[in-house]
Symmetry: C2
Subunit: 166 residues, 2 copies
């Protein structure tokens, strides 16, 4: 009996620890793309209006498409991530800027059928270190679509893949 | 005889094509780190004095060290790459900046014994799409060391790894 209690306690502790690192699905049902921290680079960017600095990354399908120039449209299965930090100083280098506090990671999931209602992309964002899903309800994705409409002719993607040597 | 000539011609053509994508070693003997385009992110950065935007990337050893906070000193075998582009506009988003023309990729190779004479790091840079090695002779690395001396107390690395959620 005691060993069962200990086992149950350990299991509960393990579940709690695990939950602290898990991110809930976005309000539109999109699951958290585990492992994005190890995706490869598409492009860096930054904003001049809110002091944030960013990296666009992609899953394997997105990176292969970017390297091949196959990005208008992006292929189904591609996932683009944009990782955003507050902009900070680089100690020892007065004219350089680098990342400070982590702000959020946001994603576009390409699936022309599944996400036909939102321009062929599923949209999701998770906030801060705890990766809380963004949006009060599924309608939040309309904000994303509206903002990305100026680049509808580039498959709704603002940042072009950075040019890399072969 | 004719078939031998054809074979020799095809071989020469293949060598020429191959050479067009190969990058010569740096003047200090450091070999080009093939495949860096698929390394993972350490941090984005940009410079306010010369309109360039950058991504710091790492090989597997460097990325594991960055994720673990094991970066002062960085472990032997770590290679850090900094990929540099001209800064450009992001069409459709007036307050965003992204990468334009590719400028160069530069690398720090950590090996405290092999590179004892240059602060425990091997230094190298390859320029432009054709990836020409930078530097007239092996002494070029002194430029790198001199520039990085202000951050000697951070193992000569300017940009701290970006904070990522677990």
């Amino acid at each position: 009996m005691q060993s069962k209690l200990i086992a149950a306690t350990m299991l509960a502790a393990a579940v709690t620890l695990s939950a602290a690192h898990a991110a809930d699905p976005a309000p539109n049902g999109i699951a958290y793309p585990t492992g994005w921290q190890n995706w490869q680079i598409i492009a860096p960017s930054y904003r001049t209006d809110n002091n944030t600095i960013r990296v666009v990354i992609g899953n394997d399908i997105a990176v292969a498409a970017a390297r091949a120039g196959n990005t208008n449209p992006w292929p189904n299965g591609a996932i683009l991530g944009k990782v955003v930090w507050r902009e900070g100083e680089v100690p020892g280098w007065p004219t350089a800027k680098g990342p400070a506090a982590f702000v959020h990671a946001e994603f576009m999931f390409k699936d022309t059928q599944r996400y036909a209602a939102t321009r062929g992309w599923g949209w999701a964002r998770w906030l801060a270190a705890e990766q809380r899903p963004y949006g009060a309800n599924a309608e939040f994705a309309q904000e994303c679509v509206t903002c990305h409409t100026p680049v509808a002719n580039r498959d709704h993607v603002f940042t072009a893949p950075a040019i890399l040597p072969k």
